[in-house]
Symmetry: C2
Subunit: 429 residues, 2 copies
């Protein structure tokens, strides 16, 4: 098949008819498919079920420091959980607070705390006329929504193959004191699977923020979520790099076991300099007496240590690989050479990021929905849900079985082609 | 022994010498005792250990509505947990959100949400010049601290035997639009064990707040925490009373299983009118994808229903009764008839509230501390930690074994008497 752009109006009309027929056939199947959210499959969740076969006796409920995990206390988390989550993030246990089941909740509360009380003694952001947050795009919709809720001005920063456009990041951060933060998913970024280059990480660490209360929100959500043994992303340790660069307090790092053990019942943590941790604890102590330490200890006992956790991730990869392969195969088979779309080849994380022709993403998603396939809303990966070029669609293949992904992608590729043909006809009209 | 006030200066000096000797003997024992916080004992925590012997298979991880509790979702909590916590609070499941392990965290976040975003469309409290919160005293220190952190003006409302002084509450709430809330522990209040009378509850429900965003923070922390089968407190249902009185949206109710199952790993919930619940959910959805539903389901499976939970509470009562009895016995034996103190006789909850002679509470706590007994700080039960008369001390006997409580109370009563004698001598000087 030759590139669609080279087709004549008559060829396009014929193609449209053919695709419409294929689309109607799909619709007639009464599909009900969902590749919208990065949810683990039951098979993945089953991997951690042995966690519930340990810790039955009272004696097993005592943490390394003698804490009875069933009772109140331990605001920072139990020592062995701080160690495990610290090892996950490359942080010393003293730099770690282990929270409850949601890293999104930690990030939201961290922003809320800055709005209400400021950062390490700075003016509370609620007292400022304007707060700006940098949003590498495409990015994680829930990140952007948090800062949108607080009324911040969201500034899009284009992603490159090495991470966010650092020239632009430096220009904003180093010159504008209203810029208070940036959302980062440094490893297998959501949605485009980008791994920040070493240079990008070092440039982040070397920022000279105009605002003393500027913080990098380093959401290391996929730090161990590799798809291939022989191609595991490793990036420099942001905490160490910031310290080396004389910016020890500039970063908050976040991680969770939501996609390691249970999405609804894992443990989540933040790591940062001791000064930041003390600042957070000084406010956190009014919010709660402590998080669920039984679940913290259960996780440590299950994994033993970070190596146990990393071994566990190989089992996830084995389940996920064929699902990603199914997505990529359909995209290549059905859209390859048509010059109407591009997509990434992720080596980890939870998403394939798809870019169709300009002005076709919304239409593609709408066509899919009408035929029974739910996708993340077009534009979701951009601040305010607005993709300026209307090209990007996030594909999340983790939840359904391979057979359903194949069905979904068959429909998806028809819709993407149909939307492209419609667009080209519009342009030729 | 006759009342201390009737003793001559010489008699007081002789008594002081005697008490000082007794105090020094206590100090020499090198005690290390703690009756400062309302923490359950290991024996109580053991009651819920069978909870960890259920739910091992993937099939057991499915909630009543088909939700896999291990995965993301269900922001309001799973249906059966909403039912259980609703039954605990006298609320329909549709009026309930089940959160994580801490009701304090829910209350803090509810206040924070009001500050950041307002209440059902009202002006965010951060935009107001002044916010006042009513604090029945003595009360729960962590309640007061939350509202202190947000910079509110805390107004003390004296407790009576029927609950807060409602004349004063009505005067403030019905006339002052800056009054946005009141902290209540309606059943077995912290620390004085007061059960609000039916009239008090009805007067709360019939308030006519000057502020449309005024809310009663009804922390029903001890709703099923009875000590005696034949003397269980029952008060009118605040949600129903508010609705009857034409104020359906005026109350937020809170409860948790922290002192039913595990203080660090229970489940917590709020209940309120549907309009309030919708308002909370409309903000909460940006903060988290959902709370730990595995723990929610585990709790429901363990108790089966509210009757199972209530039966479970009888086991707690059996453990707690002798501890409370030990406190009361020493107070009666050592301080009865001296006219230097009074205390309550709680029929539920977690505390004995002690009032010594004016100006002696701090001294008593300091003497105890020096001899190895940790008590909640004097004044903790008052806003800003300031007990205007310096009389109140909260005694929390749940954690230590009876033998330690007896030791602790022996020391305590010596310190209380010594502080009283010192005070009387000062007055006679």
């Amino acid at each position: 098949m030759k590139p669609y752009a080279q087709l004549t109006r008559e060829e396009l009309l014929a193609l449209q008819k053919e695709l419409q027929k294929a689309y109607e056939d799909q619709k007639a199947r009464g599909l009900s498919l969902d590749i919208s959210r990065g949810k683990p499959s039951s098979e993945q969740l089953d991997l951690s079920m042995p966690m519930f076969d340990i810790m039955h006796s009272s004696a097993e409920m005592i943490a390394a420091d003698g804490t009875d995990v069933r009772n109140y206390g331990q605001l920072s988390g139990i020592p062995e959980a701080r160690k495990l989550m610290g090892d996950l993030m490359g942080a010393d246990p003293s730099q770690v607070i282990v929270f409850g089941n949601s890293s999104l909740n930690i990030m939201y509360d961290t922003v809320a705390r800055s709005v209400l009380f400021g950062v390490m003694g700075s003016t509370p952001w609620s007292k400022l006329d304007n707060v700006k947050f940098l949003c590498p795009v495409p990015g994680y919709d829930r990140h952007f929504s948090v800062t949108e809720q607080f009324g911040f001005e969201l500034i899009s920063i284009p992603m490159t193959k090495d991470g966010p456009d650092m020239d632009l990041v430096e220009e904003y951060v180093n010159n504008d004191p209203e810029v208070k933060g940036i959302w980062c998913v440094p490893v297998y970024s959501n949605p485009d699977g980008t791994v920040y280059s070493a240079e990008t990480v070092k440039r982040f660490a070397a920022l000279k923020p105009a605002a003393s209360d500027f913080r990098i929100y380093w959401d290391n959500a996929y730090v161990v979520h590799h798809l291939y043994d022989d191609n595991e992303a490793v990036i420099p340790n942001i905490l160490e790099e910031c310290e080396k660069a004389g910016n020890p307090d500039m970063v908050y790092q976040f991680a969770s076991t939501s996609k390691i053990t249970f999405s609804g019942a894992g443990i989540a943590a933040m790591s940062a300099s001791k000064a930041n941790i003390d600042d957070v604890l000084s406010k956190l102590k009014w919010q709660t007496i402590g998080h669920d330490k039984v679940n913290q200890l259960r996780h440590v006992r299950f994994f033993k240590d970070i190596n146990g956790l990393k071994d566990h991730m190989k089992k996830h990869a084995a389940i996920l690989r064929p699902k990603f392969a199914a997505v990529i195969k359909t995209l290549e088979d059905d859209l390859g050479g048509l010059d109407i779309a591009r997509w990434n080849y992720p080596t980890g994380g939870y998403f394939v990021s798809f870019d169709g022709m300009e002005g076709t993403a919304k239409r593609t998603v709408a066509l899919c929905k009408e035929a029974g396939l739910v996708l993340t809303g077009a534009g979701a990966a951009y601040p305010y849900g607005k993709d300026p070029k209307d090209t990007n669609i996030r594909i999340a293949p983790s939840l359904p079985p391979v057979s359903e992904i194949e069905q979904a992608m068959e429909l998806f590729s028809i819709c993407a082609r149909l939307a492209a043909v419609e667009k080209l006809l519009e342009e030729k009209a």
